[in-house]
Chain length 340, copies 2
């Protein structure tokens, strides 16, 4: 799925900032792609971007309107149809992360056909993937894994992209989730892929590349999550990572949506290596990314020091302290991937 | 997906017996459900069932016509449309394992709507699954796992069902693949389920049951298969098996469709226990099912003896020697599940 920037971010009448989480992610990570926001009366979210109508945004060069707002059940509200049709008429492709397919609304489908615009439903992959082949392909890959869902895997991969590029390394974030696809303009939401094609989809998302190029693959779920471990394992075999970083939220007691306790970071490292060796015998950990937002700064520093010492790996909070320590370790192990 | 027997098995103009593999599986395992076969001129497959037209089969009580034949690409040949429409007009539901959706052919869709008949596309699940919850549910479960794809996981589960029922045990085969769904009249083809819903689908396939009831869950793939390990892991967490049986084909050198060597049976046991403990701490192996079709009888016996001794588990070829040794072990460990 390829999405063409620049974007106009449609917020509709989002109930709060949380409902606009996807749009916030895009505006945070790709401000240069975001021409403006388009809000309806009653909208309670604000990206602090210029408020533009589709016609105004089109005049400023925007090509795709992103429906970057979530509703209960992922349903497209009826009263958004008119606005989306108007955007199509103003020349926009439409990309949506809702469950409702854009094309399931006849008015939207007809407008897109009439004006030759694309309707991109991120949750409904149209790409026909092959099954994974498990063959090592050129290029370096790093995968972010986790002790749970929603512990910062996307954020860590994006922070690494920024830091590695600043270091002169040739590094690209590779999206496997909805927000990530909007942020990178490419990728596939793994949760929209058929069970047999998880690894194959990731082989497509992070394809063969130059020998010293880094793909920073966004992980999903956890090998220890009872609902999603299969997704995480398929992703691991598709990514065939040379390096991985474990993401963790230290104050969480049970895994998201279930009653299971979180595994230890050490357990995640051990099982990731054990399984990951199947498709890349050289797999190894390069750092720990801890989300310390619920800890005071001193407490956070102490926890990171203990974690680093116990696991003999750089441990950091990417938000608070950046990821330089992890990039140092990568640069040391893969010197040829560092720009001169 | 619920399919109502009795069945009429449609073979079309199948090129050979292999193309009718699914139909053969149904006829072998559910002869009491198979009223007849319906063949077109040029058909080179034969199930040794009465040749019946849809009208004749309907008169004998058949309710569903199964399109149990594979074509290159899983495409429904144009010239079958007329026969399928005729079957609908004769009162049949139609169930198909092809990739082409039955309803994508307007003539078929219209006939089904006009006559109020069901179109069941096994490869396109219409069930809306939840994500897996990982909560232990009542009932006993056994999962067949493998060192590779296509090593006898379905066959072993079905043989166990037969042997356990003969022993007075309350046991049901639970299908996770296309042929299995036709054989049990229920289930879901896991390869048609979205990546996030593998475990949840298996929780639906093998739901809460009486305390001493056995679900014999058909496994898929292998935890060591680079293409499908994610499916196998999701299936493991959805099944939460108390018992598992490892299926193996000793003459195979590389895993199906890839260049990877097969893992050892011991490796499969170790990783199945390590991962399976997450959702059922009591998981343990109860036997090895070896497909010895490419070995002479003496050689097969020697291999099974060595395997049994080394792994301290019953080892058998279900086709050649039955599964009584495995059922003995189950009956001993779960005496309350054996009928009086």
């Amino acid at each position: 799925m390829i999405i063409h920037p620049p974007y106009l971010l449609f917020l509709g009448d989002a109930a709060d900032e949380l409902a606009a989480k996807t749009a916030h992610g895009i505006a945070d990570w790709r401000p240069e792609w975001c021409v403006g926001q388009f809000r309806l009366p009653g909208c309670r979210a604000d990206l602090h971007l210029p408020d533009l109508t589709p016609a105004e945004a089109a005049a400023k060069g925007a090509r795709t309107m992103i429906v970057g707002v979530a509703n209960a059940g992922g349903v497209l509200p009826e009263h958004w149809t008119r606005e989306i049709v108007a955007a199509i008429e103003a020349g926009f492709d439409i990309a949506s992360g809702l469950h409702t397919r854009l094309s399931s609304r006849p008015a939207i489908a007809e407008a897109a056909a009439r004006h030759g615009r694309a309707l991109l439903d991120i949750r409904h992959s149209t790409e026909h993937f092959s099954t994974g082949k498990g063959v090592k392909r050129p290029g370096l890959r790093l995968l972010t894994v986790g002790t749970d869902c929603s512990v910062g895997k996307k954020y860590t991969a994006l922070t690494l992209e920024k830091a590695m590029r600043a270091r002169g390394m040739d590094a690209d974030f590779r999206a496997t989730g909805q927000t990530g696809v909007f942020i990178s303009g490419r990728g596939a939401a793994i949760d929209a892929v058929g069970a047999d094609f998880i690894s194959g989809a990731v082989e497509w998302i992070a394809p063969a590349a130059a020998e010293n190029h880094w793909d920073l693959v966004e992980g999903q779920g956890s090998l220890f999550h009872p609902s999603f471990a299969g997704v995480s394992l398929g992703l691991l075999h598709g990514a065939q990572p040379d390096a991985f970083v474990v993401c963790h939220e230290p104050t969480r007691r049970t895994m998201r949506g279930v009653a299971h306790e979180l595994p230890s970071i050490a357990e995640v490292i051990a099982l990731t290596i054990r399984c990951g060796r199947l498709t890349n015998p050289a797999i190894r950990p390069f750092g720990i990314a801890v989300n310390t937002q619920h800890l005071g700064e001193d407490e956070a520093r102490r926890l990171l020091e203990t974690t680093a010492r116990e696991l003999e790996l750089p441990a950091t909070d990417p938000v608070r302290f950046g990821v330089e320590a992890i990039v140092d370790r990568l640069a040391e192990a893969f010197p040829a991937s560092v720009g001169k």
